[in-house]
Symmetry: C2
Subunit: 274 residues, 2 copies
Amino acid sequence: MSDPITSSSNPQIKDLVRLRDRRHRDRTGTFVIEGFRGITRALDAAIEIERLYVCRELFLGPNEDGLIARVADTGAPVIEVAPDPFSKAAYRDRPDGLLAVATQFDTSLEALELPSEPLLLVVEAIEKPGNLGTMLRTADAAGCAGVIVCDPTTDPFNPNVVRASTGMLFVVPLAVASSEVTIEWLRSKAVTTFATTPDATMLHTDADFTGSVAVVVGTEQYGLSDTWLERADHRIRIPMAGAADSLNAAMAAGITLFEAVRQRQPGRLSDDES
Amino acid sequence: MSDPITSSSNPQIKDLVRLRDRRHRDRTGTFVIEGFRGITRALDAAIEIERLYVCRELFLGPNEDGLIARVADTGAPVIEVAPDPFSKAAYRDRPDGLLAVATQFDTSLEALELPSEPLLLVVEAIEKPGNLGTMLRTADAAGCAGVIVCDPTTDPFNPNVVRASTGMLFVVPLAVASSEVTIEWLRSKAVTTFATTPDATMLHTDADFTGSVAVVVGTEQYGLSDTWLERADHRIRIPMAGAADSLNAAMAAGITLFEAVRQRQPGRLSDDES
């Protein structure tokens, strides 16, 4: 190990702080993964860790040394940091003493490989990083073959996306592209698109989600753009029984995806039709 | 109107700041509602507004005067506040110039009136106020007759609950009680309880959610207590297809509630059985 960092004005601590800013992430091609669970998921997914910062005084469990050994085995430097500078660099209120700087991975649409009859989630113009993280976590649970983020105002390497995804950012295949390019790409793959909008007449439970399917959700505040509303194959809505006129965007995605999961369960279709 | 408040050390500003603290809320029997939408929902629901603080310099829309008139009609004082002290009192990063202090309403189980064949959401030991707010919003959309919060570590008058519920805190009937009392109360009302747990064998889509039903969810980190796992009528799980071992607690509640909505749609049962 190199010499421990003891000062909050150390350039590496400043770099960690600046990585909260998108421009610095894009300029360096890196992002930060905080905490035992996220770093473990990243290693499992062969995400390239460039360096690991550790603060033993803040460790919470008995397994940190195993994780440190895994990182060291990849050849990445492990740097000890004193509690004060570590806490300055950490994003969490209660850091667990582990911060990794990782290489941004390829999120091009071309790199997204589809199995036969994929279930996909498409998210347009997402603003809230926490919502994108929750969607990635939910898409993993629903067995999605991928998540495509169109025209985002947040980027997937935002620390709040990393946190809210509980590491699923490294597990669910993720692509970022324009809506135009995504629509053409999905068409070329014969994927049927379902745009969720409160103005639709078809209920999400009346849609046929078997086969190659993409569920498309927009922002909470403005919904989907006309591009998607006009060019998606179908428009669907979740029934709203109460006073509220919308659901949280991640919630709308989850409810629709799990209706698709229900329909796609082996034997389910014949049950319904018997 | 009374004299405008121009100083951040004004006792009323200090009171607003202290209302972020649960003890001060409980001691005074009040809580804060911030913003146009939430205050409008509260007025619609006949929540008692004790006083309204306004800062015209921060107004975002053309409808604030109508809202102020509605509050004034109830006899509550309307107090002008300068931008600096208002921003100190506000919880939001970008306040919209409207802050109401309201009277805490009755959340006793005895006050919860049930229609015939209600759909209910029961949430145990919820910790994150944002999750409780999202659940209230989702329960409203699912047409729940009520939400029962058992043994909470957060209280429903927490400002982040108010915010995340988008005003549905004032719309969905809400009760707070111990798990023991809630189990006995549900039994006395002949409500069938479905405890969600990853260890269940029955999928949520195989449960029968028709009739009088309560969906019971636990905390994200620890799940439901043994009290609920042992004494609920059924245990169900949401299928997890990916690497993650759990969903966000509000997401699990929403997915299960909307499966119940699907099953309870008029004509749906006969469709499935035809």
